[in-house]
């Protein structure tokens, strides 16, 4: 069973969730459209359903995915709030911040 988002876990949970390439792949999949655990496993290949479920649990605890019911099926979807929080968090920190700094500084040269 996937537990819901615990806001107190905050940015550390988000970073931990995204530190694993498989979880990044899962997040991309469910961002495109809702997927069941089985479908995610088929896409990734060479991974047990249990491992997929564990990855989903980490993503859910970080607030990055949610569960949707479709009849008896449980479908995993991206949590837009989680993504927004992630974007703000990354935008407020490094390294995307430094890239933005570079763009800002260099585009205003010679102004």
């Amino acid at each position: 069973m996937v537990r819901g988002y615990d806001p107190s876990m905050g940015s550390e949970a988000v970073l931990r969730a995204l530190a694993e390439p498989r979880r990044q792949a899962i997040l991309r999949l469910v961002r495109d459209k809702p997927h069941s655990v089985n479908e995610i496993g088929e896409h990734l290949g060479d991974i047990s359903q249990q491992a997929v479920s564990q990855h989903l649990q980490v993503l859910a605890e970080a607030g990055l995915v949610d569960v949707q019911r479709d009849g008896k099926r449980r479908l995993y979807v991206v949590n837009p709030k989680g993504l927004d929080a992630l974007e703000r968090f990354l935008a407020s920190l490094w390294p995307s911040g430094l890239r933005k700094l570079k763009r800002a500084v260099e585009s205003h040269r010679g102004r």
Binding site: S8, G10, S11, E12, R88, A91, S92, L93, W94, P95, G97, L98, R99, K100, L101, K102, R103, A104, V105, E106, H108, R109
Partner: protein, 144 residues
Amino acid sequence: MAAEPYRDSIHLEAEPEVVFEYFTRPDALVRWMGDRAVLNPRPGGEFTLWFDERCVQGRYVEVDRPRRLVITWGRRGSREMPPFSSTLEVTFTPEAGGTRVSIVHRACPTTRRHVTRSGGSTISAACRCSVRAASPSRTSPRPR
């Protein structure tokens, strides 16, 4: 924020004097970070930055134009990184064709009742300085 400091650096095609402004002038800062800023770039001066409804709150600890900045840093309402609970150190080093901007962002124990969960193990000169950064500051958005 993990106890290990976060380190990163980037090369910019601009003089250190120019890049420094992007950490000390509100109109320049918001070109790359946040939506609105109140900055008073002198030791003890306010560093407040809004991202939508979120707010980064801290103070300038060291201001060595155009070489080095130390800023305390945290999030209003954050348990992990409350205001003033971390320290951002920025150095501006001239190099061929421009400037290398290097950052070290570390958790910082404070004497306040808020202590970061992971911050107990890192004590640095910058962190000790942040304690004195509780002096009052003006809220003027014009730094100079």
